[in-house]
């Protein structure tokens, strides 16, 4: 699962990558949200805002990627952080998974 269907904005922690090479190496997990026909578009946008603290425009952009492309790569993280996000997103009922970036 090396690439996403669509480009995403860099994660908020990008600055950390430059100062912490180990974390950069470890951040090999992608959090992906998959499309389904049942979650409301406004709900998905709201969840992205709540879980990631994103502004509405960014959350909506990712929601539209999910809707139009079938999936959106939300963040690239360490396993622990990716797992945390997947737990949160699934707690909201979204179809989200983590995949190793190979």
């Amino acid at each position: 699962m090396a690439e996403s269907a669509t480009p995403v904005a860099p994660p908020e922690t990008e600055k950390k990558e430059k100062t912490d090479p180990k974390e950069l190496r470890d951040r090999g997990y992608l959090v992906i949200c998959w499309n389904d026909p049942v979650n409301l578009m406004d709900y998905v946008t709201h969840v992205f805002q709540s879980v990631f603290g994103w502004p509405k425009a960014k959350a909506r952009r990712h929601m539209l990627q999910v809707h139009e492309n079938g999936k959106s790569l939300l963040v690239r993280e360490t396993f622990e952080k990716a797992e945390h996000y997947v737990h949160q997103l699934q707690g909201y009922g979204l179809n989200a998974t983590l995949e190793r970036d190979e």
Binding site: M1, Y29, D36, P37, V38, N39, L40, D42, Y43, H46, S50, E83, V86, H87, Q90, G91, Y92, G93, T97, L98, E99, R100
Partner: protein, 160 residues
């Protein structure tokens, strides 16, 4: 159910949002919430690629969802037993008053009912659903799906 007063939710100390609904809508809302939970815990998958996670990590996700479910059920029981705390009479209608945190919780519960009903229907495309000549059981699931979506939309208005 419609929003009549909204403050930006989730900010501590801000006044709650208020929704106006008819007594019948209240009955329907409570009946819909009583359908919780709908999703089988096996629905939650940590990864689509078996190499990306271990069975223990998948099990942990299941446990986390089960724990969340128990918390939602406990809170729902409190909501049902003390609904006068949330609903106030206003002429012929009712006013439902919710904090941002309560709306967030209600949204999650309603969405679980919506997604769970859809999964129980066989996860169909919505175009397929509309062409269904449903059995009684399918009609119940479809109704639950539509009603939870209706109440979700009303709540989401307060966040927009």
């Amino acid at each position: 159910m419609r929003l009549i007063r909204s403050q930006k939710p989730d900010s501590a100390g801000k006044p709650p949002s208020v929704f106006r609904l008819s007594p019948r809508e209240k009955v329907v809302l409570l009946a819909t919430l009583k359908l919780y939970p709908q999703l089988d815990l096996g629905y939650h998958q940590l990864s689509r690629d078996p190499k990306s996670s271990k069975p223990a990590q998948q099990e942990w996700l299941k446990e986390a969802m089960e724990q969340q479910r128990q918390e939602h059920k406990k809170r729902l029981a409190q909501f049902f037993s003390n609904d006068r705390r949330f609903f106030n009479e206003a002429e012929e209608d009712l006013l439902l008053t919710l904090t941002g945190e309560q709306m967030e919780w209600l949204l999650r519960v309603l969405n679980e009912i919506r997604v769970g009903s859809w999964v129980r229907l066989g996860s169909p495309e919505l175009e397929t659903v509309r062409k269904l000549k449903p059995t009684v059981a399918q009609a119940r699931l479809l109704t639950a799906m539509e009603l939870s979506g209706y109440f979700e939309s009303a709540l989401l208005e307060a966040f927009s």
